[in-house]
């Protein structure tokens, strides 16, 4: 590895340069973990193309760029409009360039059983509950460069705790706003949904236009037995942003985790979603859609591991690519030995709207148990000419007909979202982002 160290890419060099400015927590094990991760990051650098999991997403251009640290003073004071989402009426936590902003957040009168804290506040109050999520040893094993990078430099983030049995009715809005160009921000999310508790989290990424920043967000979700977590991801980042988001969910017995993801923005986005079904009869469903245009590159990696009996998962993902964009989807289902009675389904359908766009999809199925129901499929296609003609023969102009069919194709990923106001709004957002232009009826 000495050779790698000798020739540091501008990306790695900038990280090492900026790491000196990051403050310490004063908690020995936290600071030690950060130092370890920084050293590991410096040793490995960004993954290269020969790394199978990065085969379709090249980091070559990224590795040649150096990102400055966030101007903390500016991030703490800059005036920004907090985006509003219909149907998302609960508490709110706002991060500007990765920095928690109390003044923009709404944390008063939280429902019973719900605790929302910034990472520094949570560490200051009691670091012990975070030891597992933040400790170097835990993260080390499968960790790659981005995991090390985030663990080394994330100073802020969100810590959510829902007490056993608490039902939080109103969705919690967690907003990440990028305002500074050329900087890198890193944030952590640690979410613990207690036994039998219910909560809906809406994670929302936005950016001022043309902010070519790098954001990394690493999230851990623990669903205790019978817990119910609905997670909605609205990725509406600036068209020039780079976003690396990785989440890991542990789903307990009879617990239900559901993810709805809408990927709209970003120049380079890598979204990794991993779920482990560790308790009997746990369930994890995921729904997602990306709509890409111009030169956007969005890479979604989804992996569900069935590790206990009678667990279930259902994944339904849609992709649309126009212009010279590129979409990547890898969906893996692993059913471990002994996880009998598991039921897993994965469907990934894609629509290519231009000859220059590209979509790579790779469904994977690994089954080590005997009595398992598993189905998976992936398709890439174009808009159906017969449907287009049918719509046009009734008077609907070509561009509108294309939009209607594209939206219809994407809607399957949203139709199961129970929050109607939010569902409608996300549909509208999709329409606005669709390369084919708006639909007005």
């Amino acid at each position: 590895m000495s050779e790698t160290q000798a020739i540091r890419t501008p990306f790695v060099q900038a990280v090492l340069d900026s790491s000196g400015t990051a403050d310490t927590s004063g908690i020995a094990w936290v600071d030690a973990a950060r130092r370890d991760n920084l050293a590991s990051f410096a040793a490995t650098g960004l993954p290269e193309a020969r790394n199978e999991s990065w085969k379709y997403t090249s980091l070559r251009a990224l590795s040649q760029r150096g990102f400055a640290p966030v101007d903390l003073k500016a991030a703490r004071t800059v005036a920004v409009d907090v985006p509003v989402l219909p149907g998302v009426t609960g508490a709110r936590m706002v991060f500007v360039d990765g920095v928690f902003r109390t003044d923009l957040s709404a944390l008063e009168a939280l429902p019973a059983g719900l605790t929302l804290q910034s990472l520094p506040d949570a560490l200051a109050a009691d670091p012990e509950p975070l030891r597992f999520a933040l400790s170097a040893r835990h993260r080390h094993q499968a960790a790659d460069a981005f995991a090390h990078l985030n663990a080394a430099l994330a100073r802020d983030g969100v810590v959510v705790k829902v007490a056993a049995g608490a039902h939080v009715a109103s969705p919690v809005h967690i907003v990440f706003i990028s305002t500074q160009a050329g900087v890198a921000w890193h944030a952590r999310a640690v979410v613990d949904v207690g036994q039998g508790a219910h909560v809906t989290l809406v994670e929302h990424h936005v950016g001022l236009s043309d902010v070519a920043s790098l954001g990394t967000l690493f999230a851990d979700y623990t669903l205790r037995d019978e817990a119910v977590l609905d997670l909605v991801l609205v990725q509406d980042a600036s068209a020039s942003a780079t976003l690396i988001r990785r989440s890991h969910a542990r789903v307990g017995a009879r617990a239900v985790g559901t993810v709805h993801a809408v990927e709209l923005g970003g120049a380079l986005v890598r979204h990794e979603l991993m779920a482990e079904l560790v308790g009997e009869a746990g369930r994890f469903d995921s729904r997602g859609v990306f709509a890409l245009k111009a030169r956007q590159h969005v890479d979604t990696q989804m992996e569900v591991r069935h590790q206990a009996r009678d667990t279930a998962s259902d994944a339904l993902w849609r992709g649309v690519a126009d212009g010279r964009s590129r979409g990547v989807f890898r969906g893996a289902i692993v059913v471990a030995e002994g996880a009998d009675g598991s039921d897993a389904a994965l469907s990934n359908k894609n629509l290519l709207l231009s000859a220059q766009a590209e979509i790579d999809t790779k469904p994977e199925l690994e089954i080590y148990a005997d009595e398992v129901k598993a189905a998976h499929g992936a398709t890439i296609g174009q808009l159906d000419e017969r449907s287009l003609f049918y719509l046009r023969s009734r008077g609907i102009p070509l561009t509108q007909a294309r939009s209607l069919l594209t939206l219809a194709f994407c809607r399957a990923a949203l139709s199961s979202l129970p929050n109607e106001a939010l569902r409608e709004h996300l549909g509208d957002l999709l329409v606005a982002h669709l390369p084919t232009g708006p639909v007005d009826a």
Partner: protein, 263 residues
């Protein structure tokens, strides 16, 4: 004045000439039945008139109310008042039937410089039109044709016609796949829409439909052109004698074309 004037129309599909000099004139309010053996070009005619891609017109002209119909996009033809009831209506998952119909109606109205209907006015219109062609509330709110039975699809076509109020409706083998009750319902819907300024082209393989939709004229399409025209008695003659007798009158037609075999 003619509403539709087709003159010496030649059209190709995938390089093969299907229409070979078809001429037809239709005045407002008339119902023309077009019959003929399989492969004669009956469906091609409907597709060419409605502007489907893949149908290449190599000669001839089509005037619709004095305009060159062939120069228009499919959606423009629709807005000008041409409606094709499909032989095989397309299922479009994810597009709500009512939403689709309102989008279609408003697109046509916009094209014609009329104001668009808001959802209240549109629903009022839908309720009115349901009297002409009954389809269930459930089907109205489902995706376009998705999971509809054959009869429901055809009824939905006629319902769309009722809402869009075209000047010229082309029914492409609307009777195919319908049992007698469904056929009667569809025919009643069509008859309710007959008016002095609306014309119909009823393309059918069988005379049966014409018992319920009475045509003013019957034409026989064979070998890519209209070879016989008459009143409704021509349809009965075809029903009794088939198409073979045409060979005597038209020795230029190959036997295969009259037997309904695709060359």
């Amino acid at each position: 004045m003619h509403m539709l004037k087709i003159d010496n129309l030649h059209a190709r599909v995938e390089g093969k000439e299907i229409l070979k000099g078809l001429s037809l004139e239709i005045k407002p309010g008339e119902v023309h039945a077009i019959m003929g053996p399989n492969g004669a070009g009956k469906s091609t005619l409907g597709n060419v008139l409605s502007g489907r891609e893949g149908y290449e017109v190599t000669a001839g002209s089509v005037l619709f109310n004095g305009r060159d119909l062939l120069a228009l996009e499919p959606e423009e033809r629709a807005a000008e008042g041409v409606f094709l009831a499909f032989q095989y209506p397309v299922e479009i998952p994810g597009v709500n039937n009512t939403y689709f119909l309102r989008a279609a109606l408003n697109a046509q109205r916009k094209y014609r410089g009329e104001d668009e209907l808001d959802s209240m006015r549109f629903l009022k219109l839908v309720r009115e039109k349901l009297k002409i062609m009954q389809i269930s509330d459930e089907l109205l709110h489902r995706a376009v044709n998705e999971g509809f039975s054959g009869g429901e699809k055809k009824r939905n076509e006629i319902f769309q016609m009722a809402v869009l109020e075209p000047k010229l409706a082309i029914l492409d083998e609307t009777d195919s796949g319908l049992d007698i009750d469904a056929l009667k319902q569809v025919a009643e819907g069509v008859n309710a829409l007959r008016s002095p300024d609306r014309s119909f082209v009823v393309v059918t393989h069988y005379q049966r439909l014409l018992d319920y939709i009475e045509p003013d004229f019957v034409h026989v399409l064979a070998g890519g052109r209209i070879v016989e025209s008459g009143d409704k008695s021509l349809a009965l003659k075809l029903e009794e004698q088939g198409y073979a007798w045409l060979a005597d009158a038209h020795p230029e037609l190959a036997k295969a074309e009259l037997a309904g075999e695709r060359a």
